[in-house]
Amino acid sequence: MLEIKDLHASVEGKEILRGINLSVKAGEVHAIMGPNGSGKSTLASVLAGNAKFTVTGGEVLFEGENLLDKPIEERARKGLFLGFQYPVEIPGVTMANFMKVAVNERRKAQGEEPLSAAEFLKLMREKSKIVELDAKLTSRAVNEGFSGGEKKKNEIFQMAMLEPKLAILDETDSGLDIDALRIVATGVTRLHTEQNATVVITHYQRLLDYIVPDYVHVLYHGRIIYSGDKSLALKLEKEGYDWLINDYKE
């Protein structure tokens, strides 16, 4: 589904990604871990198409097509979803309004008719249950006045609405209390199927208790330096990164 080959990217002339190679297939869950500043969030942003970053080399194929030459919205319509670490507030724009445009753009890209208002509201009610957000969500402005936990739940709610092929969740667990973490993680797991794939970026093993990864990768200094199965996350939790990164320190 996703093929990343020797991806290089920089911000303001500073190289952050220095040759990423990663392959994600349908039905898989990948976890990307690593110390602060290793390039995890940059990787997510570059895949989504954030113009802040410049791709300086390499290639990314999504469903066999070149991803990097497509504008942000087209990547999204093709089924790439980014769960934001810091979701943005859009004052005055209701969730219903916002999601209606988003969902219908996704449907249009898939050759489907737009949803009627009634169908749409029904869908919203259904999906908001997955992350235990209450029905008032529809009339609230996008992330405005949301608590930290609600913002993250709202990201997963949007993921549920858009049914992406590939979801990249950037530190979706950060700042969540134990209950919210369970709700968010369970939500992600429920949305996982054999047809889609999930890449979770996280600092903590605890998220992976709920979202069990097939692969765990360690990103350091712009490269994936180590990959393993879910037991790697446990080992990192116990021992830290030092045993891995000593060889790569500059």
């Binding site: 989504a48 198409g49 954030n50 113009a51 802040k52 504008p71 942000i72 919205e73 999204a76 319509r77 979803f81 980014l82 934001f84 979701p87 943005v88 859009i90 004052p91 005055g92 724009v93 209701t94 309004n97 916002f98 999601m99 445009v101 988003a102 753009e105 996704r106 890209a109 402005a141 996008v142 949007q158 858009l162």
Partner: protein
């Protein structure tokens, strides 16, 4: 206006208030704030560039047989206008008095506007379509009908639309008034100003100029001297107008200034919701528009006045466009309620301050505004809330949106008179900036002479951020749609105040103003 001149204005403005403070020993805190924001970072050059490509959709000219009088302004022209309209002697006298006063007045310079020299002798002061007094839709000029079709507001549809009566003003003379019979049953008068002068001279004489006297300001004087037509509306005591009243103004004849005069009177306990909307065809030369709207809200009456203004704003280089100098004011008696809602997207220059004089005890004034400027447009708009009666309340919500190289100013005055015990005001002035070449300015003034007054003022400046656009894009929403959605959300509080039919049109206009802006 250059920077130094603006500073001078502000300084002199502050000085005057300072002197007043000293003289009158004001008890409650005076509060004034001036905020000039220039947007300095390189936020999304793309959007700016594309915004500037946004075209005016309603730029076309319809070919209607028009009757002109010669260019220029003098007493003979005024007599000619008055004669053409078969006006009574008192009205001609009023016009001449206003004209003579106007001659002694100077063009206002206090606005934060760069106004080119206007040659008042190079303007045609009267033009009216030749065919008049039609009894059915069939008699309406087919060209006029097509014009409305192009605007997306066909008369037929308007008539069919439940609850909307239309007084269509094309150029200076009313062509067609609908639904009048329905209104007549309730004793409501809704007609052109010319007809009102002819059919209800006593009412017109009683109220005309009672809220905006001819000597009020430069453009009010000019308007009183040369007003060609407009709308008149009278709601009798205790009557609730059963439908929204709307007028579509449209400047059409080349080089013809429009001087509309609107008078709305809601008698004791009456209610009316009045809608005004404007679009104009594309023109090269600048066109002057100086309207006066007077509203009398008698005891216990309630008037809601809504405007969507989309006159030709000029091209991307700032050439052409309408100059819009408007005086709008309402007078509220005891327990009366007046609410102004405006969505301003058009005109090269907007100079407009819909105001409330809260004369009666317990009266309430409201002002809700969205003003959008793009390219080289300039807007200096706001409101005045004059609290005279006891326990009077007012509320101001102003939302400015600046894009391109436009300048957008909020100017407001909240005055609490010495006898206005228990007066309250809440003001909120927000500015939204798109791009790094536009300016947003606020000039709020509070002038309180009563220590029991409660005044609140909030102000924010925001921009459409890269992060917001990225967030929308990542959800599959194009940048153009995203800008529309974000602006719609920003303006929601004001748009929600518009009657349903108008809210839809207003949203369309905001979107049109930003259309082709990105993507």
């Amino acid at each position: 206006m250059c920077e130094s001149v603006r500073k001078k204005f502000v300084l002199s403005h502050f000085f005057c208030i300072f002197v007043r403070l000293l003289c009158r020993n004001i008890a409650i805190g005076y509060w004034a704030q001036r905020r000039v924001t220039r947007f300095m970072n390189n936020d999304n050059q793309n959007i700016i560039d594309k915004l500037e490509k946004s075209d005016y959709k309603y730029g076309f000219t319809s070919d209607i047989d028009t009757e002109y009088i010669p260019k220029g302004l003098n007493e003979d022209v005024i007599r000619l206008i008055s004669a053409k309209k078969c006006e009574p002697e008192w009205l001609l006298e009023l016009r001449l008095k206003a004209y003579r006063h106007w001659l002694k007045m100077k063009h206002p310079t206090w606005g934060h506007l760069d106004i080119p020299q206007i040659d008042f002798q190079d303007i045609i002061y009267y033009a009216a379509p030749k065919r008049k007094t039609l009894s059915s839709m069939d008699e309406v000029d087919p060209e006029l009908k097509r014009t409305f079709d192009k605007l997306g507001i066909p008369l037929e549809e308007q008539m069919a639309l439940a609850g909307v009566a239309v007084d269509a003003v094309l150029d200076s003379s009313s062509v067609k008034t609908t639904f009048r019979e329905t209104l007549a049953e309730k004793g409501i008068i809704f007609c052109s100003m010319s007809e009102a002068v002819r059919d209800y001279p006593e009412l017109v004489r009683k109220y005309l100029g009672s809220v905006v006297p001819y000597a009020d300001n430069f453009y009010a004087a000019l308007n009183t001297a040369v007003f060609s037509d407009g709308s008149f509306c009278y709601i009798p005591k205790g009557v609730r107008c059963p439908m929204e009243l709307s007028t579509y103004f449209r400047i059409n004849a080349s080089g013809t200034g429009q001087f509309e005069r609107t008078l709305i009177v809601a008698d004791e306990g009456a209610y009316v919701s009045y809608l005004e909307g404007c679009t104009a065809p594309q023109r090269d030369e600048n066109q002057l528009h100086a309207a006066v709207v007077e509203i009398v809200v008698e005891r216990d009456a309630d008037v809601k006045y809504s405007t969507v203004q989309n006159w030709y704003p000029g091209d991307k280089q700032g050439k052409g466009g309408i100059y819009n100098f408007v005086t709008k004011r309402g007078l509220c008696r005891e327990n009366a309620h007046l609410s102004w809602t405006q969505v301003e997207t058009g005109s090269a220059i907007t100079w407009k301050y819909p105001s409330c004089v809260l004369a009666g005890d317990n009266s309430v004034g409201e002002f809700y505004s969205v003003a959008m400027t793009n390219n080289f447009q300039q807007a200096d708009t706001g409101t005045k809330m004059i609290h005279i009666g006891r326990n009077t309340r007012s509320r101001i919500v102003s939302k400015g949106i600046s894009a391109g190289q436009s300048q957008n100013s909020y100017r407001g005055l909240v005055r609490i008179a010495a006898k206005a015990d228990g007066a309250r005001n809440y003001s909120q002035c927000d500015s939204l900036l798109i791009g790094d070449k536009c300016g947003a300015h606020t000039f709020p003034t509070i002038d309180s002479h009563n220590s029991s007054a409660q005044l609140e003022h909030e102000a924010t400046t925001s921009k459409i951020s890269e992060e917001q656009l990225f967030y929308c894009n990542q959800r599959g929403i194009s940048t153009e749609d995203a800008v529309g959605i974000i602006v719609g959300g920003y303006a929601r509080e004001v748009l929600a105040k518009l009657p349903m039919e108008f809210a839809v049109e207003a949203q369309k206009l905001l979107a049109i103003s930003l259309e082709n802006s990105v993507g």
